[in-house]
C-alpha cells in the first residue's frame, strides 16, 4: 500500500485492491464482467478500490486466494483497510462500475452471465453494510477503465466506443 502526499496515480490489477488519500487518484483498467467497487470517506478524502472477478468466495476451490478476487472477501478486506487508515465506516459511500457481458453467448454456462451476478452480489453486500451506492455504471457489453479521485469524489469512466463520462 502506498500512502504519500505526492499527487500520483495508483494502479489496481485484476483481483486486487488498494487505497489512496487525496491528492492521489486510483485507477483500474479493462473491467469487463469484473466489477470495480470504490468505497470512500468524503470528509477524510480517503478511498479504496477493488477489481473483483467473482461474486462469492465460496466459489474458490482453494483456501489461499487474493481477497480482492471475490465481492465478499474484497469488500470485507477493504472495510478493514479503510478503518485502519482512519476512515469512519459509518460515513462511507460507494460508487461501482463494470459487470458487463462482453460476448453475446447464449449458453448454459453460468460464467457467461457472471457480470450481472457480480453486480447483484456487490449491491447486496453494500446494502447489508448500509453503505449507500451514490452512483453506478454497470451492465451492458462494453469494457470500462475507471479512475477515482478522493479529492472531489468523482469516478471517471472511459469506454472504447463512448469516450469519457463522470459519475
Amino acid at each position: 500500500m502506498i500512502m504519500s502526499n505526492i499527487a500520483e496515480l495508483i494502479k489496481v490489477g485484476i483481483a486486487d485492491l488498494n487505497l489512496v488519500k487525496a491528492p492521489q487518484t486510483i485507477i483500474t483498467s479493462g473491467l469487463g464482467s469484473c466489477v470495480g467497487v470504490v468505497l470512500y470517506d468524503e470528509r477524510r478524502q480517503i478511498a479504496g478500490l477493488i477489481h473483483l472477478m467473482l461474486p462469492d468466495s465460496s466459489l474458490s476451490r482453494t483456501k489461499d486466494f487474493k481477497p480482492g478476487k471475490f465481492a465478499d472477501t474484497g469488500i470485507d478486506k477493504m472495510l478493514n483497510m479503510l478503518k485502519d487508515h482512519g476512515a469512519n465506516n459509518r460515513g462511507l459511500k460507494a460508487k461501482i462500475a463494470g459487470g458487463a457481458q462482453m460476448f453475446n453467448i447464449t449458453s448454459s454456462n453460468e460464467m457467461m452471465r457472471i457480470g450481472p451476478r457480480n453486480v447483484e452480489a456487490v449491491q447486496q453486500i453494500l446494502t447489508d453494510y448500509k453503505i449507500p451506492i451514490i452512483s453506478s455504471d454497470v451492465g451492458g457489453n462494453k469494457g470500462r477503465t475507471i479512475e477515482f479521485s478522493p479529492e472531489d469524489s468523482r469516478l471517471k469512466i472511459r469506454t472504447v466506443h463512448e469516450g469519457v463520462t463522470y459519475i
Partner: protein, 212 residues
C-alpha cells in the same frame, strides 16, 4: 491440478505441441480459404499472473478485435483469436473481396462483421479439431462471438474458471503472420486457456501422468 508449478518440461512440451498443431491446422485452413500463404510462429506456453497475461496481450486497455469460443465436451476451456481491428479489416477485405471493408464502420458493417465471425469460426474450429485429433478427446466449440473492445475486458472472460483455483493462468499462444497479399503484416494471436481440470484430462489422454 491446482498447482501449476507441478508441470514439468514434458507437460509444457505437450501444451506447446497443442499450440503447434492447433494453429498449424488453422493456418492451413486460412491459407486454403484465401488461397494465400500464411506463416505461423513457434507456440509459446506461459504460466503468468492475470495482469501479466493482459500485458502480453498488449495491455488491458489496448483495443483489439476478438473472436471468442468456449471449448466444450470431454474437456473445457476458452479460446480467443485476437488481432488489431485494422488487421481484422484486412482479413475481412480479403475474404469478401471488397477492399476497404471494415468491422468498425457504424451502421454498414454487418457483412464485414459476419465475415469476421466466419473467419473466427473457421480458425478456432480448425485449431480445436486438431486438438481433438491429437488427444483423441471429443471436443467441440460454442458458436463464436465477436467483440471489439479493451483486451483486459475481453480476455478476463477466459480467466473465470481458472480464478477459482489459482492466481495464475496457463496461456498457450500462437501467432499467425505474413499473410500473403496484404498491405501490412497481419498478426493474429490465438490464446488457448484450458480450464484447470482440462490439464489432467489432456495429459491423461496422452498417457502422461500429471504428477511426474
Amino acid at each position: 491440478m491446482g498447482e501449476f508449478n507441478e508441470l514439468n518440461h514434458i507437460h509444457l512440451d505437450i501444451l506447446k505441441e497443442i499450440g503447434n498443431i492447433g494453429a498449424g491446422n488453422a493456418a492451413t485452413s486460412l491459407s486454403n480459404l484465401l488461397d494465400k500463404k500464411v506463416e505461423m510462429s513457434v507456440p509459446v506456453v506461459n504460466i503468468v499472473s492475470f495482469d501479466e497475461m493482459m500485458e502480453q496481450a498488449g495491455g488491458s486497455e489496448d483495443v483489439q478485435a476478438a473472436v471468442f469460443v468456449q471449448m466444450m465436451g470431454a474437456t473445457s476451456g476458452s479460446m480467443f483469436f485476437v488481432l488489431d481491428p485494422e488487421d481484422a479489416d484486412q482479413f475481412v477485405s480479403l475474404l469478401i473481396g471488397e477492399p476497404g471493408s471494415s468491422i468498425l464502420d457504424e451502421g454498414d458493417n454487418e457483412i464485414a462483421v459476419s465475415a469476421f465471425v466466419e473467419l473466427g469460426n473457421i480458425l478456432t474450429g480448425s485449431y480445436l479439431r486438431a486438438l481433438s485429433d491429437f488427444t483423441q478427446l471429443n471436443v467441440y466449440q460454442s458458436v463464436p462471438t465477436v467483440s471489439i473492445d479493451m483486451v483486459g475486458a475481453m480476455l478476463s472472460q477466459g480467466l473465470l474458471q481458472t480464478s477459482m483455483v489459482s492466481d495464475q493462468v496457463i496461456m498457450i499462444e500462437t501467432l499467425l503472420h505474413d499473410v500473403e497479399g496484404t498491405k501490412s503484416d497481419i498478426r493474429g494471436h490465438f490464446f488457448l486457456l484450458p480450464d484447470p481440470d482440462a490439464f489432467t484430462t489432456i495429459f491423461k489422454a496422452l498417457g502422461v501422468n500429471d504428477h511426474e
